[in-house]
Amino acid sequence: MDLRFSDAQPTAAERAAVDAVLGTPQSGWEGGERVAARDGRIAVAGQAARARRPLLLPALHALQASTGWISEGGLMYVCRRLSVPPAEAWGVATFYGLLSTAPRPRRVLHVCDDIACRTRGALDIIAALERECGPEQHAPTEDAVVPGEAGWLTSPCLGLCDQAPAALLTVAGSNPIERLVGGMTPAEAVAAVEAGTLPDRPRPGLPQQGDRSLRLLRRVGTIDPTSIDDYRRAGGFAALERAIEMGPDAVIREVTDSRLLGRGGAAFPTGRKWEAVARQPARPRYVICNADESEPGTFKDRVLLEGDPFAIIEAMTIAGFAVGAERGYIYIRGEYPLAFERIANAIERAREHGWLGDNVAGSGFRFDIELRKGAGAYICGEETALINSIEGYRGEPRNKPPFPVESGLFRKPTVINNVETLANIPHIILEGAAAFASVGTPESTGTRLFCVSGAVQRPGVYEVPLGTTLGSLIDLAGGPSGRSIQAVLLGGAAGSFVRGDERDIPLSFEGARAAGVTLGSGVVMVFDESADLRDTLLRIARFFRDESCGQCVPCRVGTVRQEEALHRLVRNGGRDVARELALLADIGAAMKDASICGLGQTAYSAIESAVHRLGIFRETDG
């Protein structure tokens, strides 16, 4: 691993974009002007330069946003600035879907073709784009011509499933534009590529708007999410003030007693996590909010980030206070520009009003938050992959143990909580653990956000007490939009299908477990009779194959073999079904047993349930 730079130079625009993130270079060695009298005598690099490695991803984002791709000259410049070997930075830049190391047009429409959108018109959009705008803008081959001004790409789930089909427009330049819009029509998509125009379509209101029993969603849609005064008037920061009065131990005790389980998918007791970090002797400690919501079909965290951003800031600050951390990071997926903007604004306002900084709420407690943007990698939702991504490395999961509570960000004790998990914290502090736990079931306390999408009358995020049955949730969403329900996908691509008649499954952690499924990230995606579930399975298999980080063999190879077997099953009609299913089960078991992280471990889950619970290949089983 050496600093072997090529001679490629950055353009003035690239240099400016990087300098905006990293500041002005201090020497010729850093990519600034060479002054022989100085640079021939000393060079400062080493640990100080490498300590800035976490700025690698922000710097790459800056290049991508300024020109639409990361040129060799731009990459070399970033590497000189940060003393990062170009081979390593290349490894990072090529890891993320939203970054391109090959020329890309400045204007790109990323069209979601994932499981929700493809049942709601995404394939028509793609057909129109192919017809009107030419083929998808894949990475050009060596002999390809320089790309034009605009192009389009398909994208995995953009987290707008309730407003499917969705698209994300990115326009690079000195004032880069990023916009995520739902309800796209083929004509709108073509116009977006050709003219850079997008319909001005505000987010729809919550289906449960006005329901007084809402807790997590109480303020969403009712206050101005950019106004700290609105937030304060709606009860904001009262929990932080209360927490500071209580002291860290009491806060942790309250959270532990509430029996709050993590809402990101793994359902780990939040109080235990906090306590484990607070008990560590090592300092500093960190708090991370995992806002890399990328599970296909999931959009609840986006609704919270966009609609009640200050609540997340407040909850993180309480977490930092409780565990003795002075710094927090929010890592928001790159496909959520509005959420990013709202949170960035919330952090600024909170600093201005003394809710963040050297003296939080006048208590002497010091806490601040850095905001980080993902760049299109599902795996970064895995907590240790996310940590590596913040640190400026490829977002590859680490082996566990050690767990982040012991050795997390920068190898220090780290609390990492999902957005929705954190959103529960102010309620627990204000109303007390007992009141919190009185909602839901004894094992699954509190309410839960469910992302209801697909063939229902009123898709959207719903907040219901844990333990609510699947049937009543679907009824709350207006019931099926089609004739009947063929299947429901619970928990997303990493979750499981259930049959339309399994309405009685209680949506609690233990209820789901008893039914052999998982709540995962709260996905409830409904498929009616018209849905082509085989196509959905192929998309899920492609998703995992694309998103496998490639670090461990069972997942890297298994996700490819799984997709191949599914293609054969679909293509070959009734032939060899038993053999292919046995092969799928074998691959699935290997991935589950031997992958180092949840991606590989769950990559067969939805397919397995489709085979066994829905019997999807049964009719052709000769």
């Binding site: 010729g28 060479r34 022989a36 021939g40 005598r41 060079a43 690099a45 080493g46 640990q47 003393s83």
Partner: protein
């Protein structure tokens, strides 16, 4: 040092130290195995300081690189010492307990103010101060050096100046603190250990010490000379005087590796008898009257080697030697027999046991069985119950001190013998690259994606001033010779400093330029510093010379 020529620290200590001064060495390229150990320290958070005229690939890993003028190491070390003394950072307890000569040393460095050091070394005063304080205040610190320190006319003084810093701060003889001369080959250390030096017997014993001499004479049954032998440089001087007329060269290629190559070749060619024992037909071997093909010890021979952490390890033959190649022990024994000596058939273990018997203070406990069981043992290991020594000179920290004290040495800064002037305005320094090894005998036959044609590296500013660019041919001349070389523009050089390797002595005779100014104490020549002139070579240069630039030397 302090009697025995070996690094005081182990690789493990390098990995766990807090500050490393990399002084006059480029281990990333030239000692890549050691550098892996250094990198472990860096990745753990250790600070690395590189002191080298060039910003080498090793220096690129450093927290701070100090680009000093070639040959001004003593000035820099003295200035650091003065900072340490004036900042009150000396280890007084260690100095009182373990050293002698501090007062004289302190007085000798007093003139090295930061301002003066900056003028002499070219390194900004603040940087010198930073390194001095980092070294002195580190809980653990190691100084590593290689040929940038030792290939000078005052090599020994350079080393002593570094040792002084360790004594001043107590950074020697403790776990993680010490002095580490990095060895460039797998058994440089072992060669010295075995007494392959004109002034040492096995185990660094002094052949002029009457007690030592008597013991070896008794054991060997011969009378030993009462004077020291010649080192390589002295041998060439003796050839020049006509006193040395026969030479037996084992595993060396002086025709290409010695400074002032034109002279070296002339002297070798003028010998009455030249015998070369090697595994390749080197340029020296081609000049020889007799060539004795021998085995590659690492894979075709039995014995031991010693690495840079003083670890003696067994070597075993994995392959039979090709053709008529013969084991070195066998060859030497045959020669002895032809000389009328009744030597028995050689056996590596018997030879090794003789080494143990003659130098028990270092190797006494290293039976073949134990070397095998323990995966090598670090000397000294005096008896079979001794585990070997992780680091040396721990006795200096014992109170009361074990053994004799370590002396501070008063050494004076002297610039390189040949400095740039109006006639020869560039400072040439030489070195090696990652993918070539010394004179290329073992590496030139293999391709490497990193290797480019050897030429002369010059700074971008000098390239512009000379009106040359990457690949341009220039004539490089010193007072001793002249070669034509292709330019490589290297931003890791400052104006006035140029760099060449001696890897491609067939194509580019760098050592035709270098000077044989030699350190009288070590016998090492000043490969690192001579003055050259560079002139663009344009199309009207004699065609033969241009061809020669690609294929062989000119003049």
């Amino acid at each position: 040092m302090f009697g025995a020529g070996g690094g005081t620290v182990s690789y493990r200590e390098m990995e766990e130290t807090d500050v490393i001064l990399l002084w006059g060495g480029n281990p990333r390229e030239n000692h890549p195995i050691i550098f892996h150990h250094i990198l472990k320290a860096v990745n753990r958070g250790a600070k690395l300081y590189a002191i080298d005229p060039r910003r080498t690939p090793s220096a690129q890993w450093a927290d701070l690189w100090l680009g000093l003028n070639v040959g001004t190491d003593i000035a820099l070390a003295h200035a650091m010492a003065r900072v340490i003394i004036h900042e009150g950072l000396v280890n007084e307890r260690f100095i009182a307990n373990a050293t002698t000569g501090y007062e004289a040393y302190r007085a000798s460095v007093e003139e090295w103010t930061l301002g003066r050091a900056e003028r002499v070394t070219g390194v900004p005063a603040a940087a010198i101060r930073e390194v001095a304080i980092a070294y002195a205040t580190a809980p653990r610190a190691i100084i590593c050096w290689t040929l940038g320190i030792t290939e000078h006319h005052n090599a020994v003084d350079n080393v002593l100046a570094l040792i002084n810093l360790a004594l001043l701060t107590g950074h020697v003889g403790r776990y993680g603190s010490g002095l580490a001369p990095l060895r460039g080959q797998n058994n440089v250390q072992g060669g010295g250990d075995m007494g392959a030096l004109p002034n040492r017997l096995v185990g660094f014993q002094d052949p002029l010490d009457p007690a030592v001499k008597a013991r070896f004479e008794a054991a060997w049954g011969v009378k030993l000379p009462d004077h020291l032998g010649w080192n390589v440089t002295q041998m060439f001087h003796a050839m020049e005087r006509g006193e040395l007329v026969g030479l037996y060269v084992i595993g060396e290629n002086p025709a290409q590796s010695e400074a002032d190559q034109n002279r070296t070749e002339r002297l070798l060619a003028g010998l009455e008898l030249l015998v070369v024992q090697d595994i390749f037909l080197t340029r020296t071997a081609r000049l020889a009257d007799i060539v004795l093909p021998t085995t590659a010890t690492w894979c075709e021979g039995e014995g031991t080697v010693t690495n840079s952490e003083r670890r003696v390890q067994r070597v075993r033959a994995a392959l039979p030697p090709p053709g008529n190649a013969r084991d070195e022990l066998w060859i030497i024994t045959q020669i002895a027999r032809r000389m009328g000596l009744d030597w028995p058939d050689p056996d590596p273990e018997t030879v090794w046991n003789e080494v143990r018997a003659m130098a028990p203070h270092m190797f006494g406990g290293m039976s073949y069985r134990r070397l095998e069981e323990l995966g090598g043992i670090q000397w000294p290991c005096p008896d079979e119950s001794h585990p070997g020594s992780l680091f040396l000179h721990g006795r200096l920290h014992e109170e009361p001190r074990g053994g004799p004290p370590a002396p501070f040495s008063v050494v004076a800064y002297e610039p390189p013998v040949e400095l740039p002037d109006d006639e020869y305005p560039f400072q040439l320094t030489t070195g090696r690259r990652l993918d070539s090894y010394n004179t290329g005998i073992q590496t030139a036959g293999y391709s490497s994606p990193l290797r480019r044609r050897e030429g002369i590296d010059i700074s971008p500013e000098d390239a512009e001033r000379l009106g040359v660019e990457e690949g341009s041919l220039v004539r490089v001349s010193s007072r001793r010779g002249s070669v034509v070389a292709a330019v490589h523009v290297d931003p890791n050089l400052r104006p006035g400093l140029v760099f060449m390797t001696f890897h491609d002595q067939d194509g580019l005779r760098t050592n035709a330029l270098t000077i044989d100014a030699t350190d009288p104490k070590s016998g090492t020549a000043e490969f690192k510093a001579c003055a050259v002139r560079i002139e663009p070579c344009d199309a009207d240069a004699p065609a033969g010379e241009l061809v020669a630039a690609h294929g062989s030397a000119v003049q």
